[in-house]
Point group: C2
Chain length 168, copies 2
């Protein structure tokens, strides 16, 4: 499965379900060096500005993005709250974030996520984000839940944030 | 794969590799109620007394076993140190521990572990521990690394600790 949410954008967001293990792999390039893409992930104020689908309100309750830290945020739309939380197993400067992720409506379906940043040179970065769960049913349910919209729209907001000088 | 490391013991430790997903499942019963088995996992002094193979020295550097906490410990034998670390995604009293786990010699091979305690009645508990990784090669390497000895011997030490009144 590959989606291009907005054909006027230069970069497409690839969302691929692995055939062998219950994992979703997201690949996306950005016109910014790894240091800036990394900062947009670890700084709570920046993270809040781009994460999630357009039109949802994002409220960060805790976001301590360092090895051994934890996070919780709530997305809201039409009066409904959706809480998410997890812990950061490892945060390696400009390279890697390994974290857990849970939607609080299904707290026992915990995912292990890895975000890897590769320097493509010329001020460009390839981000590969994988989400691993313990069953194919769980993985396919996650994909069917509409995560694609949140991911692609979120990265479009991140493109804008990186382009407008919001990440120093 | 099922192993009984010591036939004089009443409880065997079952270690099973899942055929469909890259996961190892360990099942073990204990002659103690869930509250005591749980306490032996969350209290760092107790945890240090039973975890790992016999004859290895265990040194806990950090062990904050609560939701959002982190841990690091070092096992030593013959002058060699083996470090392990991770974070606790969720610690639910007497029921569940969800954590990450990494051997520091292979820091990018992170496992997502769930320990579930079931009350069998009559002061008995069934523990089911699953370790999920992102490849079958990684899972099979973990099993081949000798983890079976550490797990079965560790649980034998836990039997003794539970029996001798060391866990209140």
């Amino acid at each position: 499965m590959t989606s291009t949410s907005n054909p006027t954008r230069r970069h497409e967001t690839q969302i691929v379900v692995d055939p062998d293990v219950p994992l979703v792999r997201i690949v996306r390039e950005f016109d910014a060096p790894p240091a800036k893409v990394f900062r947009a992930h670890v700084d709570p104020e920046l993270f809040a500005r781009w994460t999630g689908p357009k039109g949802m309100e994002m409220r960060i309750e805790r976001y301590d993005c360092r090895t051994g830290g934890a996070y919780r945020y709530v997305m809201s739309q039409d009066g409904e709250d959706y809480g998410f939380n997890g812990v950061f197993h490892e945060v390696r400067q400009d390279e890697l974030i390994v974290q857990t992720f849970a939607f609080e409506g299904m707290p026992d379906d915990v995912a292990l996520e890895k975000i890897v940043l590769e320097d493509l040179g010329g001020g460009r970065t390839r981000l590969t984000s994988t989400s691993l769960v313990d069953s194919f049913e769980g993985r396919d349910g996650f994909v069917a839940s509409g995560m694609e919209v949140g991911v692609t729209e979120g990265y479009e907001k991140l493109d804008e944030l990186l382009a407008d000088g919001g990440v120093r």
